[in-house]
């Protein structure tokens, strides 16, 4: 959890995954795994933080990911935005200036 909300965020991975999900950049996203993440703005007094991308994380309700699996669709249920990826629903939110996705129970 704390790994997900590192101060040094990466909208990059989320975006790459989003594009991959839209079928726009699937091959590029698969070929390159960025393990260090950067910032939109890097204040002077802070070093970059190294993290490793989570791979093969179990899809458990309440878990948080920075990027979505491929082939998701954006759905609205009760005026709330979700990403539906197969049978799994993700709810997007801003963690810092980065969009992250929380696995939720299927909305009804």
């Amino acid at each position: 959890m704390s790994r997900i909300v590192d101060r040094i965020g990466s909208r990059g991975l989320a975006l790459a995954a989003f594009l991959a999900a839209a079928g726009l950049a699937a091959s590029a996203a698969n070929a390159v795994v960025v393990v260090r993440r950067s910032v939109n703005y890097h204040p002077v007094a802070r070093a970059a933080v190294v993290t490793t991308a989570a791979v093969g994380t179990a899809v458990v309700v309440g878990s948080v990911v920075r990027s979505l699996p491929p082939a998701c669709t954006s759905v609205m249920v009760g005026n709330v935005a979700y990403q539906q990826c197969g049978g799994t629903y993700y709810q997007p939110r801003y963690s810092g200036s980065q969009v992250t996705y929380v696995v939720v129970n299927p909305p009804r």
Partner: protein, 260 residues
């Protein structure tokens, strides 16, 4: 008051320098203290000048290194555009290879919007930029772009963290004569190019992370406009019909403050 503060922070900086940096490299720095007071004074003069500007816009060309899983270092690029009118207006546009976000603040509401992902989130904001910075960083974990540059010369600056400061020489950035300074502190080396003459503006910044073997860098070249025309609607977010509102994870801010 101010000179007293400078003296105290300089003393702290020198003490740190004597313990760490200058031990290993004393032979190179025997003539001058590790922290050159003139370099610190230049930072503070720049900070004071920036704080004097009632409105401005600045455009930055940004490059950021990242590592592939193989360990190879690669560079990503982007731009940052910041428009400010004191005391209560801010707009920032960040565009890049892997980034896309807009920040809006109109003295009432703060919004961050990712145009490509189509999501935005807002909160009721305090009435001034000074108060806003506190809330965005501590509660929401969002850094306002370039904000730290404005704090040199105040009690919030990072002078006490600096273990080495020196003027490298004179350099030209985008055709403008600048003084080139180099600073060191824990985990980070950084360089700053400050415009010569009556407008001591930061024109280029390079930050090197020294804890990584590959020493990744983050660099910016800045172009300033101190008399911009800033239309009122720049600062207020009007969601496009296809955009969806989502929430902030306020735990991000809490976790971040506990890390520091």
């Amino acid at each position: 008051m101010r000179s007293h503060l400078v003296a105290v922070t300089l003393a702290a900086g020198l003490a740190l320098g004597a313990g760490g940096w200058s031990k290993a490299e004393a032979k190179f720095s025997s003539a001058k203290p590790a922290v050159d007071p003139d370099a610190i004074a230049a930072l503070q003069k720049m900070g004071a000048f920036l704080r004097d500007q009632q409105k401005f816009s600045v455009r930055a060309t940004v490059t950021t290194d990242d590592l592939l899983s193989s360990g190879q270092k690669v560079q990503f690029g982007g731009t940052l555009e910041l428009m400010v009118r004191r005391p209560d207006r801010l707009r920032a546009d960040v565009r890049g290879d892997r980034q896309d976000e807009r920040i809006y603040y109109d003295g009432k509401t703060f919004t961050i919007f990712g145009e490509k992902v189509g999501y935005y989130a807002s909160f009721q904001a305090p009435g001034t930029l000074a108060e806003l910075k506190d809330v965005t960083e501590k509660r929401y974990g969002i850094d306002l772009p370039l904000a730290d540059l404005f704090y040199w010369g105040t009690e919030h600056d990072g002078t006490s963290e600096i273990t080495a400061a020196t003027k490298v020489g004179v350099a030209t950035v985008e055709g403008t004569a600048c003084d080139h300074y180099a600073f060191r502190q824990k985990d980070v080396d950084w360089e700053l190019w400050i415009e010569q003459g009556p407008h001591p503006l930061p024109r280029k910044i390079v930050i090197t992370t020294t804890t990584e073997k590959s020493r990744p860098q983050h660099g910016m070249v800045l172009t300033w406009d101190l008399a911009p025309k800033l239309a009122e609607d720049l600062f207020t977010f009007a969601p496009p019909p296809e955009a969806h509102k989502i929430e902030f994870d306020t735990a991000a801010g809490r976790n971040i403050s506990s890390r520091q």
